[in-house]
């Protein structure tokens, strides 16, 4: 029976499309390509999603032709599914949002490049490959963040993000070089084997390498104290790009962190779990408290995204002690990606139609833009974790995993944080449904955007009522990964 080499197929499809689209500017002419490139991107991403679904359901056995660089396992399939899904939603929203930009085709090309980077990162099991994929993921997002060239905020966002992103790549590479120096290999499996027999006085050096890796990954994972760029970047960047950064790029960072730390955890004599637990608590608390005082919706969502990163980090904290942790991380990654993408897309619709991002402009939105208001409400309630929405189940799994792995105080901290977060998510819902709008003229929501919002809301509600299949997929992926190391 034929075997499916998902990474290679996706690299081929996404890379050739990403390279073809800018070339078509010449072939088709700019105006025609502006429309065509969007649909073409959608088609390619839909194809990728189909391949990943086939692989994820286990219809065809998975196989990798370069197993030393990319491992074709369910963990990779799961995270690729998440990032491609988000990229697809962002693409459809961008049909309208990016319509007036003179470089639309380049926008879609870069979107495909960064998606490809994230996909490769999901499967990479070699430090060299992880780094190269990391760059392929990061570079397009720097440009995308500054894509509105005439907008000062967008420029500031891009420059800030670029400098810190370049720094994080450097720090990451430093950590990798130390690990490579100690183990003599870049392949994670070989690293695991050779690091188990290094002399004990080399352990601090390995620990130092691990700290460098946390710092390098941490910038993309937006964990405290590497979160400073997030609010500025998310606010300044085109809101569709913020959706991509928050919902997809962060998840891809997590999968790389999972693969690397699964190898490093058993080797370090110091308590990496405890350090990560403290970071996790600091991240969620700081994110939630800062979100309370924000005046702009994109900044608020940015801080909320930081806080959610803290919840996700619980999965890494209990990686060595509880099998539930990784399943919870995966499960919450998918749910959070959907919720955060929906919230940002709703914010993008409002910004596109009214050019406003302030929270006060959401007063009475339910009467002006009913579909957007409804989807935003669903997304925000899901982010709080109100049952029966999907966010409730994944938070439940994560907090249970924390208690199960011996970090009951972390679970308690998470619960307290959830209560705090209700404050700022709730106020938006209240403003949208209870307050009077400034102008009672209803605004027509663009068809593509409204369709995306309705579909994601439906998925959020359905996967909340029937959480079984998604959670089963997540736990299958995590079990397969944990049994492999």
């Amino acid at each position: 029976m034929a075997k499916l080499d998902i990474p290679l197929i996706l690299i081929g499809a996404l890379a050739s499309a990403a390279l073809l689209i800018p070339a078509l500017d010449v072939g088709l002419g700019k105006a025609r390509n502006a429309k065509f490139s969007g649909y073409f991107t959608l088609l390619i991403l839909a194809f990728a999603l189909l391949i990943l679904t086939i692989g994820g359901l286990g219809l065809v056995p998975l196989d990798s032709s370069v197993p030393n660089l990319v491992q074709n396992d369910l963990l990779g399939v799961f995270f690729s599914f998440v990032v491609i899904l988000v990229a697809l939603l962002v693409t459809v929203t961008s049909f309208d949002y990016m319509k007036d930009n003179p470089n639309v085709s380049i926008y879609y090309s870069l979107l495909l490049f960064t998606s490809l980077g994230m996909v490769v990162l999901s499967f990479a099991v070699d430090l060299l490959m992880i780094f190269v994929a990391w760059e392929l993921m990061s570079l397009p997002t720097f440009i995308l963040a500054g894509f509105k060239k005439g907008d000062k905020l967008s420029n500031e966002a891009a420059v800030k993000y670029f400098i810190l992103g370049a720094l994080s790549s450097g720090v990451l590479l430093y950590g990798m070089s130390i690990i490579f120096g100690l183990s003599g290999s870049t392949n994670l499996n070989v690293v695991l084997n050779s690091l188990t027999n290094i002399s004990p006085n080399m352990i601090p050096l390995a620990g130092f390498g691990a700290v460098m890796l946390i710092a390098g990954f941490g910038l993309k994972l937006s964990i405290v104290p590497f979160h400073m760029w997030i609010p500025d970047a998310y606010e300044g960047a085109p809101t569709t790009v913020s959706a991509l950064l928050s919902a997809a790029t962060k998840k891809a960072g997590f999968v790389a962190a999972i693969r690397v730390f699964a190898v490093l955890f058993p080797l370090l004599r110091f308590d990496l779990s405890m350090s990560l637990a403290i970071i996790a608590l600091a991240t969620m608390t700081l994110g939630n408290l800062s979100a309370l005082t924000q005046k702009s919706i994109t900044r608020m969502l940015a801080y909320s995204s930081i806080a959610q990163g803290g919840y996700l980090l619980i999965g890494l904290v209990v990686l060595p002690t509880s099998t539930l942790g990784l399943s919870g991380l995966l499960y919450h990654s998918l749910n959070h990606a959907l919720l955060q993408a929906t919230a940002f897309i709703a914010a993008a619709v409002v910004r596109y139609k009214t050019s406003k991002t302030s929270i006060s402009s959401y007063n009475g939105l339910a009467r002006v833009m009913p579909i957007t208001a409804f989807s935003l409400m669903i997304a925000l309630l899901g982010l709080v974790g109100i049952p029966p929405l999907n966010g409730f189940w994944s938070k439940l799994v994560l907090f249970t995993a924390a208690a199960d792995g011996g970090f009951a105080w972390l679970a308690l901290g998470g619960l307290v944080n959830t209560a705090i977060s209700l404050g700022y998510y709730g106020i938006i819902v209240k403003r949208m449904y209870m307050d009077e709008p400034a102008e009672k003229v209803s605004i027509k929501e663009p068809f593509a955007m409204a369709a995306v919002l309705l579909i994601t809301s439906a998925i959020i509600i359905l996967t909340g009522i029937f959480p079984g299949p998604v959670f089963e997929f997540a736990s299958r992926a995590s079990t397969q990964f944990l049994s492999g190391i």
Binding site: D100, P102, N103, S109, F113, L128, F142, N201, P204
Partner: protein, 173 residues
């Protein structure tokens, strides 16, 4: 200890390290940008010398070719083409002291970790360094996929840079 045996490479390393770090500091601190650019090139050369000391001839060659041959020369060209009034000068404030403290403490920390791990002895490797041929072969066979991804990174960097640098006829919103 056998420390005294390898005084020559140690002395050489020390000289290279001093030159590299001093010119790196000069590159950041010099008032005249052209001097800074030249100092940066010297610093790159120092790194290449470290690679030679480590028997990594291939890396040393690449370092000279890429960093000095293209990057440093490019920086010097840019410095000479763009008028000086266009450069933004940053006033030195408290951040400067904070930066010095942060970097010195990081240096102390790294130094402590390295010394603590027992990597204090100089030794001369008896292993033949891999040939250029072998490096090239592995790059296109074993690491072929990462090489291709790297190609994509370069392609997108060109696409992105062109888009960013292009002057639009009509400003977007």
């Amino acid at each position: 200890m056998r420390r005294a045996v390898h005084t020559m490479p140690e002395a050489l390393f020390l000289a290279v390290a001093v030159i590299t770090i001093a010119s790196a500091i000069l590159a950041l601190e010099s008032r005249e940008l052209v001097y800074g650019a030249v100092a940066l090139a010297v610093s790159f050369l120092g790194v290449a010398a470290v690679f030679v000391l480590l028997d990594a001839i291939f890396l040393a060659v690449m370092q000279v070719l890429v960093y000095i041959g293209s990057i440093a020369v490019l920086i010097i060209f840019v410095v000479m083409l763009v008028r000086r009034e266009k450069w933004v000068s940053m006033p030195a404030g408290k951040e400067r002291i904070l930066g010095v403290i942060a970097s010195v403490s990081l240096l102390a920390f790294v130094g402590f970790v390295v010394l603590d791990s027992g990597l204090t002895e100089t030794f001369i490797s008896t292993v033949t360094p891999p040939s250029f041929f072998e490096i090239g072969r592995q790059l296109v066979t074993e690491y072929g996929l990462s090489l291709q991804i790297l190609g994509l990174v370069l392609a997108l960097a060109v696409i992105g840079a062109l888009t960013m640098a292009k002057v639009e006829a009509t400003r977007n919103k």
